[in-house]
Structures are given as C-alpha cells and as structure tokens.
C-alpha cells in the first residue's frame, strides 16, 4: 500500500513540474503586454523598453522560467508589478474564501445527494426516484450563471432575502454577515454538485443492490437499513469519490463565474482580474497554486480510494 502511494506521489510531482512549465510558457507566449497596463497605452516605446528590462522580461524565456521556478521553490511567488502585492498575499487573501465556499457547498451537496440517492435507490422508479432524477436532469441544463441571474432577481431584488452583488464581508469582520453573503453562492455551487453526486450514487447503488452479497446479507436477518449503510454504500461510493475529487478541484478556480457575479474576491475573481491586466506573475502564481491544490486533492482521493475499496491498493 505504501508502495502504491509512493508511486502515485512521484508521478504527481512530475506532473506538477510539467504543469508549471506549461503555465509559464502559456502566459509568456501569448500576445499581451504588461507595460500597457502599467504605463498606459500612450507611453513611448523607449519607456516600455526600459520597463521591460526592469521587470526582467527581456531575458531569454528559459532563463525567466528557471528564475521563476527557483523562486517558487523557495516559497517566493513574486510580487505583482501591477498591484504591488505579493502573489502570496493575494493567494492568502483569496483562497480562504474559496475554501469557505467549497466547504459549505459540498456539505450541502453531499447532505442532500447521499440521502436522496439512498432513498431513490430503495425504490427505483418510484415517485421519489422519478421526481429526483428528472429534477437533477433538468438542473444539468441550468448553468450557474443562469441560476444566479434568476436567483438574484428573485431573492435579492424581489424578496430581499439575500444581499445582492458586491456586499461581501470577510468572516473575520462579521461572521453572520459573511455567512449571509456566502449562502447564495454556496447554494448555487451546491446545485451543480448535487446533480452529479446524486446521479452517480443512485446508479451505483441500484447496481450494487442487485449483487448476490446483498441477498446473502438479507439471509442473515440483517435489517434493510443496516444492509444499505453498511453493505451497499461502500462499494457504491467509488464513482462518487472520483467525481467529488474532480468537482472540488474544478471548483477551486472554477467558481469564478459565481464570484465574479457577486463580486466575491476569491481565487477565480483574482485570476480573471490578473488575466485582464496581463499581470504575468499573478496569473502564473495563482494558476500554479490551483494546479498544486488539484494535484494534492487527487492524491488524497487516490488514498481514500484504497480505504473505500481495499482491492485497489494491491495493484
């Protein structure tokens, strides 16, 4: 088992290096000029050249990459020459917000999806099952931006239940207000997650419940409840686990639409801003951070896999 995880770890580190390379190249090979952002579009070419040299942007690209990588490995992600904040501090401010969003939305999502899937799998094609399946299917066609537009319309404008865009309050400042602002985006994100989790778990549960070992469990006199939770759930959770990993990884920066629309300063928001400002260091730093988080997450999920299904570790 340790060997298995070690192999995975090495592979993931390798991937991270390649990803960092990819990020760097991507950002630097694209057209777009930070000097325009800093100096404005009307400055002279000479000033631009000077600035480029100051920023070290006129060195060969490989040199720049290794310089940057070296810094990164020392924990120095650089200082944005546009906002003058260190990238690290940008991350430190933005990431906890995403963390909060993710935690709340996933708790809600799992809290809804798991019981719903279990109840539906008990009576496939019963009323609950059909309603849940149809609803979740319909939700697939409702991307977050549509939901937000209408949610804001209904809850913020008409009913004043939730605050509208731009009213984010940090947790440390005022926990109640903070939660108040975070509920809407969390719920919107949760909807997308519930759909995925519900369908996967329900499908797998139904399949598992047809297995012979379930009949065997019945034949021992075990109650339906016990059988569902202690015999059926575990073998059925593999797809769910994989999907959760992918989903959460995607949410880390992918919540940007929601953040953008409600002006919540999370990673997605910061990233989009940096891209629009051609803020190289910030874009690189944030993207690299996201990649690291995703990779670590995958690693954790792989580990959890082996716990849920012990057959996997013996590869």
């Amino acid at each position: 088992m340790a060997k298995f995880l070690l192999k995975r770890l090495l592979a993931l580190v390798g991937i991270l290096f390649l990803v960092s390379l990819g990020i760097f190249m991507l950002v630097h090979l694209l057209p777009g000029d930070p000097t325009t952002t800093i100096l404005g579009p009307n400055d002279t070419a000479h000033n631009r050249a000077v600035l480029m040299q100051q920023l070290g942007l006129n060195k060969p690209i490989w040199t720049q990459y290794f310089l940057w990588l070296g810094n990164v490995l020392h924990g120095n992600l650089g200082q944005s020459f546009i906002t003058h904040q260190t990238v690290t501090s940008t991350l430190a401010n933005a990431f906890p917000i995403d963390l909060e969003l993710i935690v709340i939305s996933q708790i809600v999502a799992l809290g809804v999806a798991i019981p719903l899937a279990i109840a539906s799998a008990k009576k496939p094609n019963g009323l609950l099952d059909r309603v849940s399946t149809t609803t979740s299917f319909a939700m697939l066609a409702l991307p977050p931006f549509i939901i937000i537009v209408f949610a804001v319309l209904i809850f913020s404008i008409h009913f004043h239940v939730f605050p509208g865009p731009g009213s984010y309050v940090p947790f440390t400042q005022n926990p109640i207000s903070n939660l108040h602002t975070m509920i809407l985006p969390s719920l919107v994100l949760a909807i997308g997650s519930v759909v995925i989790y519900f369908r996967l778990l329900r499908g797998d549960l139904i399949t598992t419940l047809q297995e012979e070992f379930i009949v065997m469990a019945r034949s021992k006199g075990l109650s339906n409840r016990y059988i569902m939770w202690r015999h059926a759930l575990r073998p059925s959770s593999l797809s769910l686990l994989a999907a959760a990993g992918l989903n959460i990884g995607g949410l880390v920066a992918g919540a940007f639409v929601v953040e953008f629309l409600l002006a919540i300063p999370g990673l997605g928001y910061a990233l989009v801003n940096s891209i629009q400002q051609v803020d190289y260091l910030a874009v690189q730093g944030i993207t690299l951070f996201v990649a690291v988080v995703v990779v670590v997450l995958n690693f954790i999920i792989d580990f959890l896999f082996t716990i849920v299904d012990p057959r996997i570790a013996r590869e």
């Binding site: 009576k123 012979e212 920066a253």
Partner: protein, 294 residues
Amino acid sequence: MSSTTDAAPTSESLAGTPAAPKEKSALGKIFWISIIWIGLVFLLAIVASWIGLDDPNNGNFALINSSPSWSHPFGTDDLGRDILSRVIYGARVSLIVGFGAMAIGMGLGGTLGMIAAYRRGAVDTLVSAASYVMLAFPALVAVIAIVAFWGHDIWKITIIVGIASTPLVYRVVRAATLSYATREFVTAAKAQGATDTRILTRELLPNVLPTIISYFLIGVATVIILEGALAFLGLSVPAPTASWGNMINESRTYLSDNPWLALFPSMAMFLFLIALNLVGDVLRQSFDVQESKL
C-alpha cells in the same frame, strides 16, 4: 429489501433488489421530441436570414425594453432590438461553438485515443502522460487566458475550446477502444493481414462510434455552457453580435426593468441543453452496457 421491479428473474439467478426497468416507451416520446427540437434549432439558425426576422443588431430606439407584443413576440432589449430575432441568430453562435469545438476535440482527441489504445507502447504512454498533465491544468484558466489574449471572435473561441477538450475526449475514446482492441476479432483481422488503418476504421471505429456520439452530445452541452461563462467575462463573441451568453449577461443590468431580457435566451439555452443531455444520455444508456462494470 423492498423495491419495485419488473426485470424477469431467471429461476437460477435471483439477486437482491431487482433492476429498475427501463421505461422505453415513455422515454421514447421524449427522446424523439428532443431530437426534433435540436433539428428545429438547427433549421432556424440556418435559415435565419431568409425568414424575415428583424435585424438582430440594430434596433428601433423608440421601442426600448418593450414587453412581448405581436410585432415583437419576445419583446425588445435595451437598444430596441427584437429579442426573438436575437435569440434565433444567437443560436448560431451556440451551435457553431458547441458542435465545432466538439468536432475538433473528437477529431483530434478521438483519433489520438484510438491510435493510442490500439498501438499501445511508447505512443500510448507518451500521449497519455501528456493528457494527464493537460488535465491537471485548470483548463478553464487556459481557455480564459488564451481567449483574452488571442482574441475572441467566434472561430478563435471554437478552436481554443476544441483544443482544450481534446485531453478529455482522448481519455474517453481511449478507454472505449481499449475494451475492444484486445478482443479476438481484432486479432483475427490482423491474422488475415489487414493493415492497421483498415482495422482502425473497419473494425474498431464502428464499435466505438456509439460511445463517441453519446459523449459528443453531452460535450456540446458543456461547451455551450462554457460560451455562456465566457460571455460573462466579456470574452464571448464581441458586441453587437447576439449570442445566448451575451444576452443573458446583458440582461443583468436591466433585470428589474426588463426581466424578459433574461427569460427568453435562458429558456432557449435551457431547452436546448436539456434536449442535448437527454439524447446523449439515452444513447449512452443503450450503448453503455459493457462499460458500466469498469
């Protein structure tokens, strides 16, 4: 364990809770309705210029933000443009980006996937490793970055998203091909002296095609959603061109004045996405029998 069922249990193989029946007849109707709807959207998008719609890009300023009426069945937007006409023209964007990007993804990723699964060896290891790396990369970020810098017209967006979808398509097609490539009919064909190309096109492709098609449709739906997200960053097709994403985005500012702006493009997108998902899902269920058990 209580359950409803109608799967015919054979007398020798009774397991626990019998399977959920596939309600073929009810699903059949909805399936065909979806197909017709998809076809209709295609048709309208193609003949848009010839059916006498109002100009989607230039409006009548006298009629700003009006509610639905006979001359403007969906109302008008904040620049007086007819919403119905914009929705239909906007379908073009979604269709081109959606189907175009997936076509690129399937073409590239699908071909690579099939070759990698069939040949195995160095090619497979390399390309698969590359796809792992690409998948670890937050794809959304890459798409946004590239679109922001390279330019956001409809063709560039299509190409970028298409390339971005390649690793995932590669993985799916590779997995599907793998389950066939090791089977005996392939070995038999090789023994008869068939060339690799022939095996790929005549033996493997027909078997993998159903999987490809079903994931294709679901992929189109995802891309259409992506276009919407890009629109919210101002990175979709530039104004004044109509696209469903653009329209929904624009509607935000006028939400309290003119909710119709938000409603119609959202409905159009919603219905189209449901149709795509439905057809894709039904196809996947009918062809997925082998894949479900790992």
